[in-house]
């Protein structure tokens, strides 16, 4: 019964969106992190989503192929870390510069809103499937 697959599919999306929200929170928390070395400075992280085919439907065209989603990895942004002249900082290098994390807070906020809405949509899908299943169970009563 495909209605039950909604729980798996939407559940996998809830998990993926939660990871996305977590990385966003981590990025926002570290938006002002600084370091004296560009190699160790915090870099914005982003999860990579990939379609996860149901075991019954390895063929995407198959009638029963329902597809969840999973996070296959987390990549770090390669945008250059900005330098800031701050000679009084204990982290500053010999020239008096510190490197700031390359997190773009505006991008992160937009990401957070998008993840939030996707999460809510999948919760709706689960609730709908639950209602329909309960009504189907009550069939004939």
């Amino acid at each position: 019964m495909s209605l039950f697959s909604v729980f798996n599919v939407a559940g996998s999306a809830l998990n993926a969106e939660t990871i996305r929200l977590n990385t966003t929170a981590s990025n926002l928390a570290n938006a002002e992190s600084e370091s004296g070395d560009p190699a160790t400075v915090y870099r914005a992280r982003e999860p990579v989503f990939k379609t996860l085919m149901d075991a019954a439907g390895s063929d995407p065209n198959s009638a029963r192929a329902v597809a969840g989603v999973r996070v296959v990895g987390i990549v770090e942004s390669q945008a250059p870390a900005t330098m800031r002249y701050q000679p009084d900082s204990p982290l500053a290098n010999k020239q008096g510069y510190v490197y700031m994390s390359n997190v773009n807070p505006i991008e992160e906020m937009a990401n957070m809103i998008s993840a939030n809405r996707s999460f809510a949509t999948n919760v709706d899908a689960i609730n709908t499937a639950k209602d329909l299943l309960l009504k189907t169970i009550a069939m004939g009563h």
């Binding site: 019964m1 495909s2 209605l3 697959s5 909604v6 599919v9 939407a10 996998s12 999306a13 993926a16 969106e17 996305r20 989503f49 990939k50 379609t51 995407p60 065209n61 198959s62 009638a63 029963r64 192929a65 329902v66 597809a67 969840g68 989603v69 998008s114 993840a115 809405r117 996707s118 949509t121 999948n122 899908a125 709908t128 499937a129 329909l132 009504k135 189907t136 069939m139 004939g140």
Partner: protein, 129 residues
Amino acid sequence: MFQNLFGIHEKALLLYGQRIGVLASNLANADTPGYKARDIDFREVLSQSEPSSQLALAATEPGHISTASADQAYGPVKYRNPYQASLDGNTVEMPIEQAAFAANNVRYQASLGFINDEISDLRFAIAGQ
């Protein structure tokens, strides 16, 4: 006498149930790069499954192949034509998927309602009062 009691609704219910899974997959993959939104062509599936449009083969021996397999309740899944695909190759358009999901939900409940009505009619006939 009790063959095909619920008419098209029995098959429709299975299809709507399957379609919910497909639409939920689209909603779940709204943020997955490269994912192509899919849907079921209802008209095609239901026109194939109309009882008048095909004759069932009589299976008198165990080796005979039945024309009505369980798989016929499932429709072919097709890719949706997007109005405007994203740059990352994703063709899920959230409002369209949500609208389709809501409409599918209502239709499922309608078919369920018709089946329930049929059952209560039968109960009425059995009780005779």
